[in-house]
Each structure stands twice: as C-alpha cells, then as structure tokens.
Symmetry: C2
Subunit: 344 residues, 2 copies
C-alpha cells in the first residue's frame, strides 16, 4: 500500500510499504478514509537526520474496519472508527484512570513496527481499547471536526483540564497552532472568563477569537510577557503551553501568576529547563501536562460535535491527497496552512 515516509528533515515522500494484516487476535485492520498532518510532525520535519530514515508518519485517522481479530468485540467490519494518537488496552490501571497514554500495553503510531496514520490502511493493535465507532458516514460534513478528536482537540482539552480551568478562570494560551486554538475552545467550554491568546498570525488569532479568546497578544519575549501581565492584572492564573519549544516555556513562567499553573501539551523539544527559585519554585508555580489521553475525551466531546455545538474542524484550512502529502508538510511548515487534511 502507499504511505507517507519521512527520509530526513524537509523530505517527505509517498512510497510503497508492506500491506498491513492482522497479527494478534486483538488487532483490527482499518482502511483509512481521512488523516491529517500534526504540528508535532513538523518537529522531525525540521530536525530529522537522513540516516534515521525513512520512517512512517501520521497518528490521526478515521477509517473503515475491514477485518478484526478473534478477540475484538466492540467494532466490526464496515464500522467507521476513529483512532486516538496512542493505542491502549483500555483495561490496565492507567487506562481505567483515564491516562491511556501511559497504558502498560499501549504505544504510539508509526514507531516500533506499528503503522502510521498517513497511509492507505493500518493495523490497529488493541482495537477494543483504542477505536471508537462514529455514527456517521465516511464523507459526512462533520468528519473534519470528528478527526480533531484523534489528537488536537483532546490535546487542547487536556491542557485545560490539567491546568485546572473552571468557571471564571483567567487563562493564557501560548501558541496559535491547532492545539493552541482548541485549547482556547476547551477553556471557553470549561467556563474560563478571560482567555488571552498569544500568537501573531492574524488569521489564526481571529479564529481563536471565534473559539473564545477575549484578548490577543501578538508580541513575544519580554514585551509579550509585559502585555499579558498587564491585561491579566499581574499574571495569569493558568497558562496553557501549546508549542513545545523552549521560548514558549520561558514565556509561560514569565506570564504565570504566583500560585498559578502552567499546563504543557506541546511535546517538549528540550529536556532541561528552568525550574528553580527564579522560574517556578519562588512563586509556588505548578508545572503539569503531558501527552493527552485523547481516547479518554472522545466520549465527552462526541455529542458536542454531532449536535453542532462546537466546530473544532475549522482548524483545517487545506486538504491534500495522500500523493501530495509533501505539499501539505511544506504549507504547514511555511505557516501557509494551519492544519492539513489528507485523503488517502
């Protein structure tokens, strides 16, 4: 079958890979109908060494079940299903606690011999714990919104939940990518009163305003920090960091209020960072967040999308065929596209 392959920084091509098939009785085989490119796919697009490639790509997809293993009971042939960005057994203590990204038998797409989402099909391990059936057709107008449940909506929601957003909260969101904008939507949905969005791409921050941002700060660095501290009356109670680069982390502890919380969901492209008296400790600032258990949030958000109360799919502003996936990467990297849908 055809699938996206990354050969090194800036080099994505579509190539032939082995057709997937069932390996375990808990597997399902899914023919992918809609996939997309993630902001986090741009990290290797910037830095991947050619000696490591080619690698499979993609971790967000909707598709039709073609075949199921003998132990799969919750989905069957013909079902339209969505996969979150991590697969999980649904039964271990972490899954039961709603932290499926720490599932003891789980893992991530496109690594360790598992298929990626940017391709024609995928073997889905632990199908019962991983997949959720969607009560619509594969071409439904809601598909873009539903696809955000695989990652960016759940990730934005996770930022807000871990950050402790509740009715009346003051929240600052760092980053105007799809996750940042959906963190705005999630914070609004949880009742935040003031939502400051830090971003400087007007088309995106305009969408952020529609999702619920009350203030937009385009400045960065010290100037941006000053503006946020001013508009929040001395610092933001909750900061949602949706970028993953170190300057965004520094922005976060710059704008947070003493006693406040920084919730990170952008995959950190750094290992060490300031955590001492001058950054987190002195002001009793809490640092939280991590890979979102998107699976845990699908059930909660599904009715909101199906009944049209939210339209997270508006983050998609371009669609490419799988054969032109490289063009999608280029457009997102150049910030010409916010988020790109891929049709296999």
């Amino acid at each position: 079958m055809r699938a996206a392959l990354m050969y090194g920084a800036g080099d994505v091509r579509v190539g032939d890979v082995a057709d997937p098939g069932l390996k375990e009785p808990t597997d399902a085989l899914v023919r992918i109908t809609t996939a997309c490119i993630c902001g986090s796919d741009l990290h290797p697009y910037h830095s991947m060494s050619a000696s490591g490639g080619p690698v499979r790509m993609g971790h967000e997809f909707i598709g039709v079940v073609e075949e199921t293993g003998s132990e799969v009971s919750t989905v069957r042939k013909g079902d339209l299903v969505i996969a979150p960005f991590a697969y999980s057994d649904g039964t271990c203590e972490y899954c039961r606690a709603g932290l499926q990204t720490s599932c003891v038998h789980g893992g991530f797409w496109a690594v360790n011999g598992v298929d990626g989402g940017q391709g024609e099909a995928a073997r889905v391990p632990l199908a019962d714990g991983t997949l959720v059936r969607l009560p619509v057709g594969a071409d439904d107008a809601l598909i873009p919104s539903l696809l955000t449940l695989s990652d960016v909506l759940g990730t934005g929601h996770h930022a807000a939940v871990r950050g402790g957003v509740r009715r009346g909260s003051t929240v600052t969101v760092i980053g105007d990518g799809a996750v940042g904008l959906l963190a705005v939507l999630a914070a609004k949905r949880l009742g935040a009163e003031q939502i400051v969005l830090m971003g400087r791409h007007t088309a995106r921050t305009d969408l952020g305003r529609e999702f619920g941002a009350t203030d937009v700060v385009a400045e960065r660095g010290g100037e941006g920090i000053e503006k946020v501290r001013e508009s929040t009356g001395g610092g933001s109670e909750i900061v949602l960091e949706a970028v993953g680069l170190r300057p965004a982390y520094e922005q976060a502890y710059g704008v947070v209020r003493p006693g406040g919380t920084i919730s990170r969901v952008g995959v950190p492209q750094y290992e060490e960072a300031p955590v001492g008296f001058g950054s987190l400790f002195g002001g009793n600032v809490t640092l939280t967040g991590g890979p979102a258990p998107a699976r845990a949030y699908i059930g909660e958000y599904l009715p909101d999308i199906l009944e049209g109360r939210i339209e997270p799919g508006r983050v998609f502003d371009r669609t490419v065929d799988l054969d032109r996936v490289a063009e999608g990467y280029r457009a997102m990297d150049a910030r010409e596209a916010l988020k790109v849908l891929v049709r296999p």
Copy 2:
C-alpha cells in the same frame, strides 16, 4: 545586641549588630526567646563566598513583644509570639489566598536590612500580618513543637498539601531532615496510607517511623528508585521532595508514578533540571511546591500541638546558647544533630 553572622562557607560567628528599633508604624520589636538553625542555613554554610559576608542568619523565632508601632493592633507588649519564615501584610490578594510567601509587601528575614532570627531581638515588619500570639509561657515545654510552626512543620505540611495528599494516598518522602520527617507527619495527618521515607540516617528514619512512615528506603540512586517502585507497586502517586539538591529531584521523577505529583519544598540549589519527555512530560507528572506560606498553617496546627496530638518538636535534638551557635551549625552540617535550638 548580639546576633549570628555568617562570614563565608563554614564560618559563623556571634557579633555585635545595631540594636533594632521601630521604623514603621506597622512594626513590632520582639525580644527573641527561642530560635533555631534550619537545614536551608546549611546551603550558604557550604557555598557562601567570603566576599559577600558577613550576613545575618536565622528565620525561625519565638519571642516577647517589647514595643509596637501605632498601627499594630493584634499583638501588644508582653505577648509571646511566633514569626513564620516570611513576613507578610496579611491583607493583599496573595495573603488572602493563603500564599503569604508571595505577599506584595512581604519579604524574608535576614536580607535587605531586615533582622535575622538568630539574635537577641528583631524588628518585625507588618506585625499584624506576620505574628501570631501563643497562649503559653516562654519556657513552656511545648516551645520546641511550637517553634516548628515558623518553618519546618509548615513546610512539611505545604509539601503534603501541594502534593494533594489525602486519605489513602501513597506518598514517598525524599530526605530525612526535619522537613522530610515533618512531611511524613503531615502526610500521615492527612490520611496517607503508605508513606515511604527515603533516608539513611537510622536515628532519623526511626523518628520518621514514629511520625508515620510505613517503609524506609536507605538506598539512593537507581537502587533506591528500584526499591521504592517495588514497594509502591510501580511508582509513588505523590512524592514530597524535602532536600533541594538536584540528585533529590532526579530521585523524585525516578520514583513517581505516571500521572503522579512531585511536590518540592527543599529550596532548589539548581535552576535548570530535566522536565522533558523522559522525566516529567511523558508520564504526565505534575511538579509543584515552593516556599511554604507557614503563616497560613499556624492556626490549623496550633490546637494539635497545644492539645498534645502531635509532637513535631521531637526534631530538635540539641540546644545551644547563641554564643555557641557556630557549634550548632557544625553539628548539623556533620549530621550529628538533626535540628538545633538556639537560646539567645
């Protein structure tokens, strides 16, 4: 008057300093009757450059009010009072929220021209917000326990509160100093079911067991991590870090369970540390804590001490006169003494 002065690493002497007097109408003048040496005083004792000295020392004291400014209304001449390790106005938004260490008008003892606690007397700024009257005499047998309210008990409690300890929690405490042992006491008081104390000084860990530790792990590094992960069934839900050195931080993220919380109260002797995918982010670990608002916890703990339900004063195992304070530092540094009471 006489006061402890640190001239550089390993060099503490008692010298003459200016007699304190009222400067502001919100000040009180307190004749110190009992003070002590803190584990955090050992940080400069290890590393202070002689070019920075001499500096005043001490931030924990009980004493008798000698004089009050015209605006002071809650304490008066003759009252026995305790001061927490930070002074605060008691009225700003942070004080009202119980985060007195971030008071907008507050500060710390022994810096910026403010007196230290290891001396004969102190000018207390913002006396109404800072001091709490004690309903006992200056020589009462409860004085050592009451003195822990100025810092180490409040700090141990803060670790537990920020860590989210509640009935049934599994908690690991890193450090067998006074704060670590009182973090054990606080965790027990909040209902923790399993309390693993990491420390290798048997006399201290024995006291820790009396305070509520259910397990003691003497090993450090990888071996210590392995032991804690084993005894907690895969990692500790809550980790209270009561040391402040980087190896203790590394121990903390080594033993914490996915989705768990590390609460730090040992003043970090490092600014940068691991926070990326491999340490905090990947397992959705929360990092919290900071300087304890000891003032906020005095009222809550006072009845427990006055009525004999807890005996936090057992952390004091030596007493020195102010003139021999250097001996107290030496004994604590050599780990011959756990915590040293100082009688001016």
